[in-house]
Point group: C2
């Protein structure tokens, strides 16, 4: 039976980009379905009825949701070119930081959009601090990538820093990541984005900027 | 070399109970260190410098934090009596719901403590609804336990319903889980708590009630 692999995503969603990158690194053929999030499709609602969010991987008719859960599924289903490290302790460390990225860095960066002045400063400081903690993982271990000599699970989880976070800081005219504060993270980012398959998963910059400007304006408006 | 396994936990912490249960189900000998959370020990700060939270598993001098990450580590390190299902899809489903429990059910139940009247009603409804979604996993598949015929990863993740959530509803004089709304979950709970090793991980009820009353009062006071 021919395998059916579909990815329901959204082009500007950092979590969708993650799954595209993992599938491409594994060389898995898939059909990409771009979701219009304000008008969610019956397909999305069928396969992720609980959260109604992208990304969703549909593999031979079965839906898998939550980007970090999908990454584990991809690695367990197509076992070539492993994404996760081999040793249980290294796997735990990678999972710890991926969870930290999603629950702390991404969430704090999202809050900046609708925050008032003083609160905004505090949130920016928090992102600086959390990115510093993350970069220690590279510095202390003198690694090329979080995955070691090649990119892996944590590089994929942190990949949004190279598009979503950088576009966000440009649009909001703030500095979330910068060379002086995060030299190792910036070096990592430069190396990461030079890899063809990674570069190919970055959304078109001008389109991304215009999209995010509109989103942040809409969020400000709705929070008034 | 003799294995050194330490669990830094707190007796009333639902996430610490999770790890105790997993270690006991695997029959792993460990030293339990109960943490006084208002006065965090140098040991906790050493092994979980990022979040400074329990539980932390220390295995041969290496610390692993975040309860769901620890469960995966335990299952990968001591591979007998597997906790996670075998098939990638079933593993993904279990991970999806464990994440749902931590990010939705636990967080919503926590918010009820300091919520004002109308908000409280809404949060209670949300817990009802989310527990219903969770119980569909038992109902639709006509399972004894989330793990099938025996308890597994998702049973361990959901185990807090049998102590923390039930004590919480008693202390707050509200109904979060009840037989009419969640018949399958209540049946699952009754079966789960009859298992000796599970029962042995439940904190002493009267002590737990007194502790939670004090915590909720303190939270009300600090939010005023």
């Amino acid at each position: 039976m021919a395998e059916e692999v579909k990815l329901i995503g959204a082009w500007a969603s950092p979590l969708s980009r993650r799954i595209e990158l993992a599938l491409k690194l594994k060389g898995i053929k898939y059909e990409y379905i771009d979701e219009d999030l304000p008008n969610k499709s019956p397909l999305l609602l069928k396969y992720n009825p609980v959260h109604k969010k992208v990304p969703v991987l549909v593999h031979n008719g079965k839906g898998i949701s939550e980007s970090l859960v999908i990454l584990e599924y991809i690695d367990e289903t197509w076992t070539h070119n492993p994404i996760l490290p081999k040793e249980p302790y290294h796997r735990a460390v990678a999972r710890f930081w991926a969870k930290f990225i999603d629950e702390k860095i991404l969430q704090t960066a999202l809050k900046i959009g609708s925050a008032i002045a003083e609160e905004k400063e505090k949130l920016i400081e928090e992102v600086h601090h959390d990115l510093k903690l993350l970069e220690n993982e590279l510095e202390v271990k003198e690694k090329e990538f979080f995955g070691g000599l090649e990119i892996g699970y944590l590089d994929i989880a942190a990949f949004f820093i190279g598009h979503w976070l950088q576009v966000r800081q440009e649009v909001m005219e703030i500095e979330l990541i910068h060379e002086e504060k995060h030299p190792h993270l910036c070096k990592w980012l430069a190396k990461l984005l030079k890899i063809d398959v990674v570069h190919g998963c970055v959304p078109p910059k001008e389109k991304h900027i215009a999209f995010m400007k509109a989103r942040i304006e809409a969020a400000k408006f709705s929070s008034k």
